[in-house]
C-alpha cells in the first residue's frame, strides 16, 4: 500500500512563452582571423548544391550565424563525443552556412579515393524509403565526387552487421536517444567496436536539429541561433526549414538584417520551387516591405519562363498597401499601387478597392480615393468604405452626401460616429446655408445631442441664426455651453444672438462672465456685429416661450432648427451676403485675381473669428494657379478647421497644397494637440497618449497638455506616471496639477485604508 504523492507541488508559475521568448539580444562577436566573415554564398559543384558542411569557406559577406556573447552559451556546444568524431572547426569562428571547410568525413588529401559508407543507403533502399534514398545519394555524391550511385541499391551486399542495421533503423525513425543507448551498449559489450563516423556525425546533426526545432517552437531564439552557430552543417538547402527558423530567430531578436541574409541565402542557393515561394511567404510575415522587395529581386524564372513569384506579387502588393494604411506610412511603391489597381479592376474585391481608397485618401488624392471608396461600397457596403467616402466628400465640400452616407453606419464604431458628426457639422456650416429636409435636420439634432458634440451644436446655433430663428439658435448655443462651459465660440454665438434680440442684459451677462477671456466678446456692441441678420430684431417675441433645447428630440414638437417652409433660397443667400460683406468690402480691387481676393477674404474672416466662412473662402482660393496662394489657402483652411474643432478636416486641408516645413510642423502640432484633446474627451485615453507622444516629438509639451497627459495616465491606472507630472507642475504653482496631486493622494489614502 502506498499513497501517491500526486499532490507534490511543482513550480506554479506559468511563464508566458511570449515573454521569455523575446528580448534577448547579443552583441556581434568578432570572428577569428580578423575581418573575414563567413559568406552566405556557397560554392556549387557538379551542378548541385553542396551540403553546408562541405560548403564552408572563408570569404567575405554577411554572417548568418553568430556566437552569443553570453559566456555560458555557444562555444562549448559539442553534442558529439570528442575523440570519436572529428570536431567541427571551433565554434568561435562563427560558422555560417556557406563557410567552406573540409567535411568531417571527407579526406583532406585525395591520395586514395575513400570508400563511401553505404549502410544508410542500403537501409533506406531496403525500406523502400525513396525520398531519403535520393537525399542520401545526393549527399554521398557531394561528399565523394568520383562515386556513382549503384543502379540497384538493394543489390549492395549487406554489411553483415545487424546491430548497425538496427541503429540505422532507429535513425530513420528519428529515435536518436535510443541510438546513443545502442552505441554505448555495444561499446560496453565490445570495447574494440567503433561506431562509423558517418553515423555519429549524422546523429549529432539530427540531435542538434531536433533541439533547434524544439527551441524554435518555444520561441527560445537565442538557443536557436546558438545551435545554428555551433552546427553549421545544419544550415543548407537540404533542410530549408532550419534556415527559416534561423531567419525567424534573427528577425525576432531585433536583427532583421541577419534574417534578410538568411532568406537571401535560400533564394540565392536553393532550388526547390515550393520552398522558394514559401521563403517569400515566410519572410512576408516577418519583414517590412523594403526588406521584402530586396528578397523579391532574387526572383528567378521558372522552367516555362514565368517569374517564379508572379502568383505572390498580387498578394504582396495587397499586403504592402494594407500595412502602409494600417501604420499610416506613405512609402508605397508605385508599381504596387498599379498592381493592386489592376487586381481591383479585374477581381472587383471590395477589400482591395477599400485599401486603395484609404491609400489615396491619405495621399490627399480625393478623386481617386472617391473612385475606390465608391467601387468598394458598390461591391459590398461597409462602414470603412462609407467612412472613407464621407471623409472625401467632406474634404471636397460635399458634406450633404457625406451625412447621408454615414447616417446608417454611425453606430458601427467611434470613428464612424466621429465621421458622421463631422459630416453633420460641415453640412450645417455650408455657405450658403443648405436647404435641409426636416428628417435630416431632426436626425442630426438627435445624434448631436446623444453625442454631446459641441462643434455641431454650435453649427446648429449658427444655422438657426442664419435662418433667423434666434430662439432656437440661443438654445443650441446654450446647450453647447452646458456641455462645454469654456467653449468661447459658443459663448460668442450666444452673445450675437442676444444682441440680435436686443437683449442687453443678456449680452452684459456674457461679457461679464468672459471678462479677460475673450477680446471679441468684450468688444461686442462697440460696433455692429457682423453676424446679426438685418431683420433679426423683427423676430417675434413669442418664440421666447418655446421649449428648452432638449425638447428637440421630441418628434411631436418638430425640429427646432428646421422650419423648412420658412426657409427660402433668397433669405439664405441674403444672409450669406450680409455675413460676408464686412470682409469682402475691405478687400480686393478689380484688377486682383479672384483667388487672391478670396484668400485675403479668408484671412479677414479668420480675424473676425468666422472660421466657417473662412473655410469657404480658402477653398475658393485653393483653385488658384499660383502655388504660393494654394499653399496659403491650405494653411489658412487648416487653421480655420482647427478653430472649428474639426481636426480631421484640418488634417485633410493641410495636405491640399504642399506646405513649407515650419508651417507643416505648426499645423501638425495643432492637429495632434486637438486630437489628443478629443480622444481624451471621448474617453480614449490610450489614443490621447499616442497623440501627445507624437506631438511631444515635434514640440515641447505645454502645461495644459501635460495636465491632460497626467489625467490620461490616471484614467489608465498609471498613477505613478500621473503623480510624477502633477508634482513637477505643482511646484510651478499650476492649479490643475495641485488638484491632481491632491486627488491622487486621497485615492492612495483610501486604498491604503
Amino acid at each position: 500500500m502506498s499513497l501517491k504523492p500526486a499532490h507534490r507541488y511543482w513550480p506554479v508559475v506559468f511563464v508566458s512563452l511570449c515573454v521569455l521568448g523575446a528580448g534577448t539580444s547579443y552583441a556581434a562577436s568578432s570572428s577569428q582571423g580578423g575581418d573575414t566573415e563567413p559568406s552566405l554564398v556557397p560554392v556549387e559543384r557538379q551542378g548541385r548544391l553542396r551540403l553546408a558542411k562541405e560548403a564552408m569557406g572563408v570569404t567575405t559577406g554577411p554572417r548568418l550565424a553568430q556566437v552569443p556573447e553570453a559566456p555560458a552559451a555557444a562555444p562549448q556546444s559539442a553534442p558529439a563525443p570528442a575523440g570519436r568524431v572529428q570536431r567541427d572547426p571551433p565554434p568561435t569562428a562563427t560558422p555560417a552556412p556557406a563557410q567552406a571547410s573540409v567535411p568531417p568525413s571527407q579526406p583532406t588529401t585525395n591520395a586514395a579515393a575513400p570508400e563511401p559508407d553505404l549502410s544508410a543507403l542500403r537501409y533506406f533502399a531496403s525500406r523502400g524509403d525513396t525520398a531519403r534514398l535520393k537525399v542520401e545519394i545526393a549527399r554521398l555524391r557531394s561528399l565523394y565526387p568520383d562515386w556513382s550511385p549503384p543502379d540497384d541499391p538493394l543489390a549492395i551486399p549487406r554489411n553483415g552487421d545487424p546491430q548497425l542495421e538496427a541503429m540505422w533503423k532507429l535513425y530513420a525513425e528519428g529515435r536518436y536517444p535510443e541510438i546513443r543507448q545502442a552505441i554505448a551498449e555495444r561499446q560496453a559489450a565490445d570495447p574494440n567496436w567503433t561506431p562509423p563516423a558517418d553515423l555519429l556525425n549524422r546523429l549529432a546533426m539530427a540531435e542538434a536539429r531536433s533541439r533547434l526545432v524544439n527551441a524554435s517552437n518555444l520561441k527560445q531564439y537565442a538557443t536557436v541561433i546558438s545551435l545554428g552557430a555551433s552546427n553549421p552543417n545544419l544550415l543548407n538547402c537540404s533542410d530549408v526549414d532550419v534556415l527559416w527558423r534561423i531567419a525567424e530567430a534573427f528577425v525576432r531578436t531585433d536583427r532583421p538584417q541577419r534574417g534578410v541574409d538568411a532568406y537571401s541565402y535560400i533564394l540565392r542557393q536553393c532550388e526547390n520551387p515550393q520552398e522558394r515561394v514559401a521563403t517569400i511567404q515566410k519572410a512576408a510575415e516577418l519583414l517590412p516591405a523594403t526588406d521584402l522587395r530586396a528578397l523579391l529581386s532574387l526572383e528567378k524564372p521558372l522552367a516555362d519562363g514565368q517569374p517564379e513569384f508572379a502568383a505572390l506579387r498580387d498578394d504582396l502588393a495587397r499586403r504592402f498597401i494594407a500595412d502602409a494604411n494600417k501604420n499610416n506610412r506613405m512609402d508605397v511603391a508605385p508599381e504596387d499601387v498599379q498592381r493592386l489597381e489592376a487586381v481591383a479592376e479585374r477581381d472587383k474585391l471590395a477589400s482591395d478597392s477599400l485599401q486603395l481608397g484609404w491609400l489615396f485618401q491619405r495621399r490627399g488624392d480625393l478623386v481617386n480615393a472617391e473612385k475606390w471608396f465608391r467601387a468598394s461600397r458598390d461591391k459590398e457596403p461597409s462602414a470603412s468604405a462609407s467612412q472613407g467616402l464621407a471623409l472625401v466628400l467632406i474634404a471636397r465640400g460635399l458634406p450633404m452626401e457625406a451625412e447621408d452616407i454615414m447616417y446608417q453606419w454611425r453606430d458601427t464604431s467611434d470613428d464612424s460616429k466621429a465621421t458622421y458628426l463631422a459630416a453633420a457639422a460641415n453640412l450645417l456650416a455650408l455657405n450658403p446655408a443648405p436647404v435641409l429636409a426636416e428628417p435630416v435636420l431632426r436626425r442630426i439634432a438627435v445624434e448631436v445631442i446623444a453625442a454631446k458634440y459641441v462643434p455641431a451644436a454650435q453649427q446648429l446655433g449658427w444655422y438657426a441664426q442664419t435662418l433667423r430663428q434666434p430662439q432656437t439658435a440661443m438654445q443650441w448655443f446654450e446647450t453647447a455651453l452646458q456641455w462645454k462651459p469654456d467653449d468661447e465660440p459658443s459663448a460668442y454665438g450666444l452673445l450675437i444672438v442676444r444682441q440680435s434680440l436686443n437683449d442687453r442684459a443678456g449680452v452684459l451677462a456674457i461679457q461679464k462672465e468672459w471678462a479677460g477671456r475673450s477680446q471679441r466678446i468684450a468688444d461686442a456692441g462697440e460696433k455692429s456685429p457682423p453676424q446679426t441678420p438685418p431683420l433679426a430684431v423683427q423676430t417675434p417675441r413669442q418664440e421666447a416661450t418655446k421649449p428648452a433645447p432638449l425638447s428637440f428630440t421630441a418628434p411631436d414638437r418638430g425640429a427646432p432648427v428646421a422650419a423648412p417652409q420658412r426657409m427660402t433660397a433668397t433669405t439664405t443667400a441674403r444672409t450669406a451676403t450680409a455675413r460676408r460683406s464686412a470682409c469682402a468690402s475691405r478687400t480686393g480691387t478689380a484688377s486682383q485675381r479672384v483667388e487672391d481676393t478670396t484668400l485675403t477674404n479668408g484671412w479677414c474672416l479668420m480675424d473676425l473669428n468666422r472660421p466657417l466662412e473662412a473655410v469657404q473662402a480658402f477653398e475658393a482660393a485653393l483653385k488658384s494657379p499660383s502655388a504660393a496662394i494654394r499653399e496659403d489657402a491650405a494653411y489658412g483652411q487648416s487653421l480655420a478647421y482647427l478653430r472649428l474643432g474639426l481636426t480631421d478636416n484640418a488634417a485633410v486641408a493641410a495636405t491640399k497644397a504642399p506646405q513649407r516645413p515650419a508651417r507643416a510642423a505648426e499645423l501638425q502640432v495643432s492637429i495632434l494637440g486637438n486630437r489628443a484633446l478629443s480622444a481624451f474627451q471621448a474617453g480614449r485615453y490610450r489614443e490621447a497618449l499616442v497623440y501627445l507622444d507624437q506631438r511631444a516629438a515635434l514640440k515641447t509639451e505645454t502645461t495644459d497638455l501635460m495636465v491632460l497627459r497626467a489625467y490620461a495616465y490616471q484614467e489608465l491606472g498609471i498613477s505613478a506616471g500621473a503623480r510624477q507630472i502633477f508634482e513637477v507642475l505643482a511646484e510651478t504653482g499650476n492649479k490643475d496639477a495641485l488638484r491632481g496631486v491632491e486627488e491622487i493622494r486621497s485615492m492612495m489614502n483610501d486604498r491604503g485604508g
Binding site: M1, S2, L3, K4, P5, A6, H7, R8, Y9, W10, P11, V12, V13, F14, V15, L17, L20, G21, T24, A70, P71, A72, A73, Q76, S77, A78, P79, A80, P81, A82, R175, Y176, P177, E178, R180, Q181, A182, I183, A184, E185, Q187, A188, E207, S210, R211, N214, A215, N217, L218, K219, Q220, Y221, A222, T223
Partner: protein, 347 residues
C-alpha cells in the same frame, strides 16, 4: 581545451568525488533494471507515475544520477540525449521544467525548476569525470553557470537558491522571495563550484544549513515545502502549510552531503517519525498528521538518519527494492546508494 578539461577532471576527482562513488556501482544492476522497467520510457524520459505520467527535469536528473550510480553508460546516454533535445532549450541555458506526453506541444511552460537543473548538471559532472566525457562536463558547466546567474540571489544578506528563474522573487510575489528548502541539493554545490567557481556556492551551503535550523514550524517543528523569506521565515501564501513530499528528502540530501550536526539530524528524525505515531505528512499549523508515509522510500529516510546518528541497522524490508511509485523509489535508491558507500555497517 584539452588541458583545461584534464585540470577539471583532476579538480573534481581530488576535491569532491569520493573514489567509491566514482567507481559508480552503488546501485545494483538488478535495482536499476527494476527502476528502469517501471519509470524509464524507451525514448529516454523518466515517467513520474504519481503525477499523471509527466516528466520533469527533477526526474531526468534523478534518472541520470541513478544510471550513473548503477554504472550504466548506455542508459545515461539515452536519458541525456532526450533531456538535451527536449528540455534543455531555454535561452539562458537552463531547462524547461515539465514535459507532458498528453499535451501538444509537450512543453507548455518555459519556466525552469532549479533543483532539476542542479541534478542534471551534477549527474553530468560526475559521469563526465568518471567516464572521461568532456561533452558532459561542458554541458554541466553551462548549466552551473546559468543557475548561478539566474537562480542564485542574495536577499537580506542571505544567499538563496530560487526555485525557478521566474515567479518566486520579491518582485514576482507579495511574499517573495519564496524558496523551497528541498531544492538545496547540498552535495551538488561543491561540484558546481568546480564547474563555475564562485563563493556563492559555499554561501548557499551555509545559508541553507542556517535556514534549515530555523524552519521549525508549528508544534511539529518541521520545515514547510514552500517558505516565504520576506520577513522571518513563514510558510508561503498559496501553498498548503505542510511538511510533505518535497521536504521529506531534506535529511537525505543533508546526509548525502555529509552535512548537519548530530543534534540537528536527531531533531529531524524525531520530528519526522515521532515514537507515538507512524510517519506522515503533517499540517504545520495544527501539528496533526495527514497522509501516512508508508513506502520504503520514505521510511528509509528516517532509518538512514538513525544509522548516521546512532549506528542503528536499517531493517531488511527497507533494503529490498520493490518499486511502485517513481518518487519514493528514487529516494530509496539514493538512500541505499549512500548507505552502501558511507555506512555499509548499517546494512
Amino acid at each position: 581545451m584539452k588541458t583545461w578539461f584534464s585540470l577539471l577532471f583532476a579538480a573534481l576527482f581530488i576535491a569532491y568525488v569520493p573514489p567509491a562513488r566514482a567507481l559508480a556501482t552503488s546501485v545494483s544492476p538488478a535495482e536499476w533494471s527494476l527502476y528502469k522497467a517501471h519509470f524509464l520510457d524507451r525514448g529516454g524520459r523518466i515517467i513520474d507515475n504519481g503525477n499523471g505520467g509527466i516528466s520533469h527535469t527533477e526526474g531526468q536528473g534523478y534518472g541520470l544520477l541513478l544510471s550513473y550510480l548503477a554504472g550504466n553508460r548506455a542508459d545515461f546516454e539515452l536519458i541525456w540525449s532526450f533531456t538535451s533535445a527536449e528540455m534543455l532549450l531555454r535561452n539562458d541555458g537552463l531547462a524547461v521544467w515539465k514535459w507532458d506526453p498528453a499535451s501538444k506541444p509537450h512543453v507548455t511552460d518555459v519556466n525552469n525548476a532549479t533543483d532539476g537543473d542542479l541534478l542534471i548538471a551534477y549527474a553530468l559532472a560526475l559521469a563526465g569525470t568518471t567516464w572521461n566525457r568532456p561533452d558532459y562536463i561542458a554541458a554541466a558547466t553551462r548549466m552551473a553557470t546559468a543557475v548561478l546567474k539566474d537562480a542564485v540571489v542574495v536577499y537580506g544578506g542571505r544567499t538563496l537558491l530560487m526555485p525557478a528563474s521566474t515567479g518566486f522573487s520579491a518582485k514576482d510575489r507579495a511574499d517573495g522571495p519564496v524558496i523551497n528548502p528541498s531544492y538545496w541539493i547540498f552535495e551538488a554545490f561543491p561540484v558546481m563550484n568546480v564547474l563555475a567557481p564562485s563563493e556563492k556556492w559555499q554561501n548557499l551551503t551555509d545559508s541553507g544549513l542556517d535556514l534549515l535550523q530555523s524552519l521549525q514550524f508549528g508544534p511539529a517543528r518541521l520545515p514547510a515545502e514552500w517558505v516565504s523569506l520576506k520577513r522571518s521565515p513563514q510558510p508561503a501564501a498559496g501553498f498548503a502549510p505542510e511538511f510533505s513530499y518535497n521536504a521529506i528528502r531534506i535529511p537525505l540530501y543533508l546526509a548525502r552531503a555529509g552535512l548537519g550536526d548530530a543534534a540537528f539530524l536527531r531533531h529531524l528524525m524525531g520530528a519526522m517519525a515521532p515514537v507515538d505515531r507512524p510517519m506522515a505528512t503533517v499540517n504545520l499549523i495544527t501539528g496533526q498528521p495527514l497522509d501516512p508515509l508508508v513506502d520504503n522510500g520514505y521510511r528509509i529516510v528516517t532509518s538512514l538518519l538513525d544509522c548516521v546518528v546512532n549506528g542503528t541497522q536499517v531493517p531488511a524490508e527497507l533494503q529490498s527494492f520493490r518499486p511502485e511509485l517513481y518518487y519514493p523509489s528514487t529516494l530509496q535508491l539514493l538512500a541505499l546508494s549512500f548507505l552502501r558507500e558511507e555506512h555499509p555497517a548499517c546494512l
